[in-house]
């Protein structure tokens, strides 16, 4: 009897061990994302990008012979919650790796945690330069920095001979940097910045700001926005009859929902994007189709960057042959890679230097790439007619 029991126990132990040898269980990748709150719309797209990457990696046999599995929590779009969640992911859940959260402010906060525990974090959703210039060792940038978001708009305006620009921004890390970058570029191109103002996150009433802006009668309105404020700002520009010759926003303006929400009022509006489904990078079409099939809507650049960031991390792990943070870090610093999102290459600070932005304009319910010239699908519809004549 005892012998039988012993044998059974031994068999059990062997089975457990055997399983352990064949596969060590999945590589668990932790992230907090803004699934609710102000950034929910975009956070969800990032989540889907990660999910698709997980699926595609696993379909190709996983990473280092192990399955990849994302562990995602909701940070409600607040940096403080993200800090707590990354702490939990690393110390309690003991995840093998982490990926970045959505938005610069949240990444800035979370980076303190990942840095403390020496975890490599590829942060595909942080576009603020300062995050990467604080002597952090383990954080890597994927997208173009905030400062160049409005470059296309300003450059086109300068080429058309426009003289004055008004710049407004949400008073958060990313938007401030985008606004400052736009002001710099405008001055370099000989334009005059006639109005600047920041508004708090979550602001819904822009009447005071727009009234002042209208009084300066700018040729160009450059708005460093997220999604909700971009929508509110546009509606209220129409309500207050503010008529610049060109009006562009940064983040949010590229989402299909931007047009769905604003309908024909979105026409003529310029937006900047890190990525478009139509850009001729290899694997882009396949990514677009697979994403649409899985999530029943089109990917935004957030989805694409998240997916690409995940691929970049996976490639570095593959080259390092281990999950060891310092070895993966070395590979990430050396890596030069072209994904469906464009080029990846970072400087010694992990700051992105290879990736390119494009500017589009909403024309007849579609985004048409209008800048830079070598990627443009067509000319911009210029000038933007006054609201009363549409």
């Amino acid at each position: 009897m005892t012998r039988k029991a012993l044998a059974a126990l031994l068999a059990c132990a062997l089975m457990v061990l055997g399983v352990g040898v064949e596969a060590q269980g999945p590589i668990r990748v932790g992230a907090s994302l803004s699934l609710t709150g102000t950034y929910a719309k975009l956070g969800k797209n990032v989540h889907e990008g990660y999910q698709l990457c997980q699926k595609d990696l696993n379909a190709k046999g996983g990473l280092l012979g192990r399955k990849v599995e994302f562990v995602v929590y909701d940070d409600q779009s607040t940096p403080a919650t993200a800090v707590r969640l990354y702490e939990k992911l690393i110390t309690e859940d003991k995840v093998d790796a982490v990926m970045g959260p959505y938005s610069s402010p949240v990444t800035e906060a979370a980076a303190n945690v990942t840095e403390k525990y020496k975890k490599v974090m590829v942060a595909p959703m942080a576009a603020t330069t300062s995050i990467f210039k604080k002597n952090r060792k383990y954080i890597f940038m994927v997208i173009s920095p905030a400062e160049v978001y409005l470059e296309g708009l300003v450059d086109m305006a300068a080429k058309k001979g426009l003289k004055t620009v008004a710049i407004v921004n949400e008073d958060t890390l990313f938007s401030k940097a985008a606004a400052a970058g736009a002001a710099d570029i405008a001055k370099k191109k000989g334009m005059q910045v006639v109005f600047t103002e920041a508004y708090p996150k979550g602001n819904t009433d822009f009447s005071g700001l727009l009234t002042k802006l209208r009084a300066t009668n700018p040729d160009v309105v450059a708005a460093a926005t997220y999604f909700d404020d971009a929508v509110a700002l546009t509606r209220q520009m129409k309500e207050l009859n503010v008529n610049p010759k060109m009006y562009g926003v940064t983040v949010g303006g590229d989402l299909p929902e931007f047009y769905d929400t604003l309908k024909q009022n979105a026409e003529y509006i310029y937006g900047a994007t890190q990525w478009e489904a139509t850009l001729p990078y290899s694997g882009n079409k396949e990514f677009f189709e697979a994403y649409k099939k899985d999530f029943a809507h089109e990917p935004s650049y957030h989805s694409a960057a998240a997916y690409a960031g995940c691929l970049v991390y996976a490639e570095a792990v593959r080259r390092a042959g281990t999950l060891d943070a310092d070895k993966v870090r070395e590979q990430l610093l050396k890596l030069e890679m072209r994904t469906m999102f464009g080029d990846y290459k970072v400087d010694a600070d992990g700051f992105q230097t290879a990736h390119k932005m494009v500017t589009f304009q909403w024309q007849g319910e579609k985004k048409v790439t209008v800048w830079p010239d070598d990627l443009a699908q067509g000319p911009a519809r210029y000038p933007t007619p006054p609201w009363t004549q549409r």
Partner: protein
């Protein structure tokens, strides 16, 4: 510029006044500070959006429907939960309505998702000289004035309205006079929710809506009734207009970021100088 800002201030002021009147009613009659007021407003906004998108109803016609729906929700809330804290210390009512508001917001996130929704009904503006009168805001303004006027008429003229005011002045005396205080409480909560719903329905035409839009309205309404005098109904009207103007003027002369600071500094000043509000409290 100043003219434009005053126009914008008055236009939003009427909306503030109407929504705050609901909060003032509940506080006056039950001494309950209803944190869920803003989330109820949000439900009103979604009612309008659903009717507009689902049935293609004219958004302005949906205002009474949203009000009716939220009136019933208000009744149920009062009957099942709020009546329990009417005589309890004010902290209990704060906690209860805080919990209710979290529940409402999260349910709304589940049902409607956090996506921005918009009712693209009337956009743009009437331009008169240098002044732009935003079409949706002017319409919302007129509606808000109308609804507020009706609510006042109701409070002044009808038997039930008088019963509400009597209960608000002294519950004991009202009871002695044969007023069914329980019923008055229920009705008041329903009416207040309907006022919030009207605000939400009109807001849906002005701005894009999402489940978390309500929170700021709880605070603004609170600000308005403190300015006007807690429990003082005409005071809510004055407070609403005042808040609208102060916000706009502050964003003109200072910055958009400071406009809310100014509004809340005003709150502190009023509390220091005239703790019972500009028109004094509870003189109904």
């Amino acid at each position: 510029m100043l003219g434009q800002v005053i126009v914008s201030g008055i236009l939003s002021g009427a909306l503030y006044a109407m929504v705050a009147l609901g909060l003032a009613l509940i506080f006056g009659v039950m001494r309950v500070i209803n944190i869920a007021h803003g989330p109820l407003l949000m439900l009103g906004a979604y009612c309008t959006w659903l009717l507009y998108v689902g049935l293609g109803l004219n958004p302005l016609l949906t205002v009474p429907v949203s009000m009716a729906v939220l009136f019933v929700i208000g009744l149920v809330l009062q009957r099942t939960l709020v009546f329990r804290v009417v005589d309890a210390p004010e902290l209990s009512s704060l906690l209860l309505t805080f919990g209710v508001s979290i529940a409402i917001v999260n349910l709304a996130q589940l049902v409607f998702t956090s996506d921005l929704r918009a009712v693209e009904y009337i956009t743009g503006s009437w331009v008169i000289g240098r002044l732009a009168f935003s079409k949706p805001r002017v319409i919302a303004f007129l509606f808000a004035l109308g609804v507020t006027a009706l609510a006042f008429l109701f409070l002044q003229r009808t038997r039930l309205g008088k019963a509400i005011r009597a209960t608000s002045q002294s519950r004991e005396v009202a009871m002695v006079c044969g007023i069914d205080v329980g019923r008055v409480h229920m009705f008041t909560f329903g009416l207040a929710s309907a006022l919030a719903a009207a605000g939400g329905a009109l807001l849906a035409v002005i701005v894009a809506i999402q489940p978390e839009m309500g929170g700021v309205w709880t605070f603004k309404s609170f600000l308005v009734i403190v300015l006007g005098g807690a429990g003082n109904y005409p005071g809510a009207l004055l407070g609403g207009m005042l808040l609208g103007l102060v916000e706009q003027l502050a964003s003109l002369f200072l910055t958009t970021q400071l406009s809310e600071v100014v509004a809340y500094v005003l709150l502190v000043v009023v509390l220091l100088v005239r703790p019972s509000g500009l028109l004094g409290g509870r003189q109904t």
